[in-house]
Every structure is written in C-alpha cells, then in structure tokens.
C-alpha cells in the first residue's frame, strides 16, 4: 500500500495496537527542559518510577536561564528549579547540558545541531515547539508532564493516529522573503486550527530549496496552526547537515542509517486527507498585527477592521486583540512604532538567521529609543557567529549581544518587556502576556526584525536591501 512519510515513521514505531485508533508507540529520543522536564522528574520520583533508558534522554535548562551575559542565573525561576533539575538529572543518569557547556542551548536548536535528532525517529519533549525537529524528518511532538513521566518510565507513549495533511509550497522566494514568511502566510490563510488532528508534511519545490535551518523554522510553527506534528522528508541536504555531528552514528552504522533514511518519503499515490497549495513567487514579508499567529498580514497590509464576515464570538476576539495590541482598524502595519527588537527563540536563532539579520544591520545603527537584542540559540551558534564577526556587526550597530536562552520568547527567565511595550520578535507566539504581562508582540522574520531596529518602525526590509 502507498504510504506517506508520516505513515512510514509511525508504523515503524507501533509496539501494539490498543484499539479505537490508539497505538502504543516506541519513543526514540526524549528531551527535558527545566519547566515541564523538572516537573516530570519530580512526579516520576513521587510515583516511585525509574527512567528506563536514561541514555536516550537529554536535558538542558533553556527556559529559566536568562540571556544576560553577566549573570544567566539571575532569574527567580532559575533559583527555584535550576539546581534541583541538575541534581535530578544526575541522579537519574540523564545527560544534562549545563549553561557553561559548549553544547548548551535551546533544546530545539541543539537537538538538530548535536545530531540528537535523526530522520525517522520519534522524539518527544514537554514543549509544544518540539515539532521543530520535523525539519530533519523526525516525527517529533510536544507532550504534557504526565505523558513525559510515562515515556521516561516506559520508553513508549499512547497516541491516537492523526490524519495526514500536506502543504505544498511551490516556486522561489523573492529577495527579502524568508521561511518564516512562508509559514506565517500559511497560518494566516488557514487559521490556527487548520492542523488540529493532523500530522503535516511540508513539501514542494520551495521546501526542497530551503536549507535545513529554514525547514526547522517552518516546522517550528506547525503547532501555531494546531498541528502537533510537522515534517519534511529527509534528503541529501539532511544527511550532509547531520554527518559528523556529535551524536550521529559513525562508519557502517551511518551508512546503514542513510540507506534507511532514503526510503523515508511519501509514495507517489499516497493519500492525504487534506492538501494545501501555496505559491511563494509573490509572497511578501509578513508580520502579525494581533494576539494570535493567525492575525497576520503582508507588510503592505493594514490592520483589519471589524466589519468583515466575523461571527459574534470571533468579532469579540478580534476586538479584544485590537484593544490589547493598541492598534486601530485600518492602520497600515508598516510604520507602527516599536520599542523592542528580539532576534532569538527556537524559531529563528540559528546561524543562518543571524547572518541574514546581520546583512541588513551591517553599517547601520539601531535607532535611539529602541532596545535590540540578539540571543543566539546555542553556545555553538554563538561561537560560530563570533568566529564570523557577526557579534561585532550587531554590537557596533547598537544591539545587545546576549547568551543562549529561550529569553524573551517565554517570559520564564526574567527577560520580559514592560507593560504596554511593543516588540518585533522572531519568536513564535504573540499571545497576550507572552513576553511579559501587558507586552505587545509582532512576529516577523529575522531580517524584518533587523529592519525595524534601524528605523524604529515596522518596515519592509526589501526597501533596505
């Protein structure tokens, strides 16, 4: 029978069928962070359970560590969990990459970077952006703390098999348009619920042309469309990217793995319950205007009004979003003043993101009154950027060059905006209070964020390049 990429990986991991569409699946990799992972390890202890395969688990305290280079341990949350998390990991013999280690970073950055994430694997983490790892052809998804306890204790998880959806991105991106714009456009067009109950495969010529980091960015926002799983079929680019990374297999085992991975693609006649086509030729840079990732428009668009076809409840939601974000209907999004620029997060803090932003910044200055941060996604990204001199470009322009952390994406480490402040941010959620109580977030690509740093306003980066 013809099968999709998703089916091939899912089927390979079924330990047993539990009936009514539920399967017991083997889990190949578990990532733990210092909030849900910490709670899970405590709960595991309380239940008297043990970690059955600690060697398949990797932990990193990315959420509560701050991006302050002088004191990444400054947050109250780190005080509460940091030491105990490390001790719990040690006791359970779980590899814990500490802040000082050269492997440290945001889990969804270091997974691919260290070769912890491999094509065809199942990978879970107590974090909804775990779908990021799908960019390498891994079936990866976010789970809650209790599910995490179950996985740690059994190396399996009970899941209902989702439906399949394929998004075909066709064509070539124009200069100044990025993978972030592709996925924001999709979410804007389809809505934040379109992927609920689906595993999404991203395909098409535009996806094939993307480098691995661009694919990771696309997959990262799958959950913002409601899809727990988002993935791209692995190809030679993936194998080239992974070869010789820290945790990948070597020699004949590597060759055997690659042979296996080459079979991981959707068969020609496989069926998807839902298919979407997006032509990217005319795609423009996108930016969000509201408090949901589906509140997104092209840079030449205007904040929508309330006179469209909304139902009553949706009308109230849009009205509340406009009220919170402090913008009037009809306001052109280009030209909206910002206070903050955040380049970072598991969405857009990889080396190619920093290179792209630096290319816009080079020789220019951050406008007075704007606070601009670059938070590299990992120690490796930071070191690589510094070896290329990107840090100097940012610092000379007036950016803060920070240390790896989830930082301003999550509001869990002391890095927050003040109430009412407005940011342009390369992260993934513009939710109410996401960057701190009262914060106003506009999601965009790294180059769009860089452009706004220079002008102090939401700006079409294509006018600067």
């Amino acid at each position: 029978m013809e099968r999709t990429l998703f089916d091939k990986i899912w089927d390979q991991h079924v330990v047993t069928d539990l009936g009514s569409g539920m399967n017991l699946l083997h889990v190949d990799r578990i990532l733990l962070h210092d909030l849900s992972g910490f709670r899970a390890l405590r709960a595991l202890d309380d239940a008297g359970e043990t970690v059955i395969h600690p060697e398949l688990v990797v932990a990193c305290p990315d959420h509560t560590v701050a991006s302050d280079p002088t004191n990444p341990f400054a947050s109250e949350t780190y005080d509460r969990v940091g030491d105990e998390f490390r001790i719990l990991c040690q006791r359970h013999k779980i590899r814990h990459y500490d802040v000082e280690s050269q492997e440290f970073g945001i889990l969804h950055i270091i997974g691919p970077e260290l070769g912890l994430t491999l094509p065809g694997t199942t990978l879970v983490c107590g974090d909804s952006h775990t779908c990021t790892h799908g960019g390498l052809g891994s079936l990866a998804w976010g789970i809650g703390s209790s599910e995490l306890v179950n996985v740690l204790a059994s190396q399996t998880i009970i899941q209902r098999k989702p439906k399949r959806m394929r998004v075909n991105f066709e064509g070539s991106l124009q200069e100044g348009v990025t993978p972030k714009d592709m996925i924001l456009h999709l979410i804007g067009q389809s809505g934040v619920e379109a992927g609920d109950g689906f595993a999404v495969e991203y395909a098409g010529t535009a996806i094939r042309k993307l480098n691995i980091e661009g694919r990771l960015t696309v997959c990262n926002l799958s959950i913002e469309m409601g899809a727990k799983y988002g993935m791209v079929a692995p190809d030679e680019k993936v194998f080239d990217y992974l070869r010789d990374r820290k945790h990948v297999p070597q020699d004949e085992i590597w060759d055997k793995a690659v042979t296996h991975w080459r079979k991981l693609h959707t068969d020609d006649d496989a069926i998807f319950e839902k298919e979407v086509l997006i032509e990217v030729e005319d795609l423009k840079p996108h930016v969000t205007w509201g408090t949901s990732p589906e509140h997104v428009i092209a840079i030449d668009g205007a904040v929508p009004g309330l006179d469209s076809t909304y139902g009553e409840e949706e009308r109230l939601a849009v009205s509340a979003a406009l009220d919170y974000i402090g913008l009037e209907p009809g306001t052109p999004i280009e030209g909206v003043d910002i206070d903050w620029v955040f380049i970072g997060s598991c969405t857009n803090s990889r080396i190619s993101d920093l290179r792209a932003a630096a290319s816009v910044i080079k020789g220019r200055k951050v406008v007075e009154g704007v606070t601009a941060w670059v938070v590299p996604g990992s120690a490796m990204v930071k070191a690589e950027a510094e070896s290329e001199g990107l840090d100097k470009i940012f610092i000379e322009a007036g950016f803060d060059w920070r240390v790896p952390s989830c930082s301003l994406c999550v509001g869990a480490n002391g890095d927050i905006l003040s109430p009412g402040e407005r940011s342009i941010s390369t992260s993934n959620r513009n939710f109410v209070g996401r960057q701190g109580p009262g914060s106003r977030t506009h999601l965009a690509s790294p180059t769009m964020a860089a452009a706004a740093a220079i002008t102090g306003k939401i700006t079409d980066v294509r006018k600067l390049v």
């Binding site: 330990v15 047993t16 539990l18 009936g19 009514s20 539920m22 017991l24 083997h26 909030l35 849900s36 709670r39 239940a47 359970e49 060697e55 398949l56 509560t64 109250e76 509460r80 491999l118 107590g126 909804s128 976010g142 789970i143 809650g144 209790s146 599910e147 306890v149 179950n150 204790a153 059994s154 190396q155 399996t156 009970i158 899941q159 209902r160 989702p162 934040v192 619920e193 609920d196 109950g197 409601g226 727990k228 820290k246 945790h247 297999p249 070597q250 085992i253 793995a257 296996h260 949901s292 409840e313 949706e314 109230l316 939601a317 509001g411 959620r429 939710f431 109410v432 209070g433 701190g436």
Partner: protein
C-alpha cells in the same frame, strides 16, 4: 487517578475561539505554584484586574458560576503551549469536564492524565447550549454520563458524544496510562530487541 462515571454540576460558558493555555495559566505565576494550588491562577488575565481584585464581569466571578464543574469552551480550546498546568488549574478550581467544538491536541491528551473529560460536540450544539445559559443562567445544571455517553442539559434533549473506548474505560475505572503501558512491557522489550537489529543507530551503543 480519580474515576469519572457521572457528573451533575453547573456548566459555565466561556465560548471564545482559540483560548490558549497561556491565558489559562500565565507563565508569570507558573513556577512556584503547586499543582493543587493552580486553581488560584486559572484564567488570571481575565479573572483578575491589574490590582489583583476580581473582575466582576468574568463568568467564573459571577455568583452562580463560582461552583461550576463543567466548562463550555469555544473552538480550539486550550491551544498553544503544552503546559499541563492548564489541566491542573481547571481541575484545582473544580472542573471535571470541558465541552467544546474542538480542543488543542496536546491539551486533550493531558486531560486524560488527570481524569478530566474533554467532550467534543458540534459547534452548533455548543453554541446552542451557550445561548441557553446566557438567556437563563439558572438552567446551568448539566449531567454528563460517561456510561451512556450523553450530555443531559437541564432543558432540551440529551446530546450524545463520542470518546475512544480505550479512554472511556480508563476514565470509568480511574486507570492511568502508565499502568496500562506496563502491562505491555514484554511487547516493548520484544520491539526493542527487533528494532535494535534494524535500527542500531537509535540505541546507546551507537549514541556517541
């Protein structure tokens, strides 16, 4: 885990689309709040004013709905972050079931870990229930029967719902997932033995 068989309780309508788990339990209150105390921060941005006082217009602050045990949410209820605190906060406040046209996928799984019943009903049916409650809040006592798979509003017809038989049995008996997974430990071992041969790169000896 607490078993769920039949629940008769007040249902509170909160019929807004795409309520995310950041609203249900905001990050700034999460760390340091115990699972049992999470009810105190439930829907904090809506439930409380900036000075910490109660927002009298929020549904759960209205006298009649303070004792609600059933929540009626909008489409894509509890989307976003995987934080299980969303379930714990609802549970700690007293909720035992949520009715909505659809749920965030991670949240729905999390519900079953705490004996919380997520019920999916067609959007029109949910909207009709909400209209009924808006018009006549005193009619808000509903019964949910997991044995017969029926929602019985105080007015109007019983509404059937579906749930995976596997989940239904677990809720009725108060069984958690791990207990069931352990019943399959032989199958898990056998899977790994075979898998180790076909995919040796997954396992520790090849995990540098």
């Amino acid at each position: 885990m607490q078993a769920f068989t039949k629940l008769t309780a007040i249902a509170a309508p909160l019929f807004r689309p795409n309520i995310n788990t950041d609203i249900i339990t905001p990050m700034q209150f999460l760390v340091g709040t115990s699972r049992e105390a999470m009810g105190d921060i439930l829907f904090a941005p809506w439930r409380f004013n900036d000075d910490g006082s109660e927002n009298p217009d929020f549904i759960l602050n209205m006298e009649h709905f303070r004792e609600a045990r059933i929540l009626i949410g909008g489409p894509n209820f509890a989307c976003g972050s995987s934080r299980e605190s969303a379930v714990w906060a609802l549970h700690s406040f007293g909720f035992r079931a949520v009715i909505a046209p659809s749920f965030g996928g991670i949240f729905a799984n999390n519900c079953f870990q705490s004996g919380m019943l997520p019920i999916v009903l067609p959007e029109k049916k949910v909207a009709a229930l909400v209209r009924q409650l808006d018009a006549a809040p005193h009619t808000a006592t509903f019964t949910i029967d997991l044995e017969t798979l029926l929602v019985l509003p105080s007015q109007g017809e019983a509404i059937p719902f579906k749930i995976e038989e596997f989940r239904r049995t677990a809720l009725l008996e108060g069984l958690d997932d791990l207990g069931l997974m352990k019943k399959h430990s032989d199958k898990i071992s056998a899977f790994q033995t075979t898998d180790r041969r076909s995919r040796p790169w997954i396992y520790s000896e090849n995990f540098g």
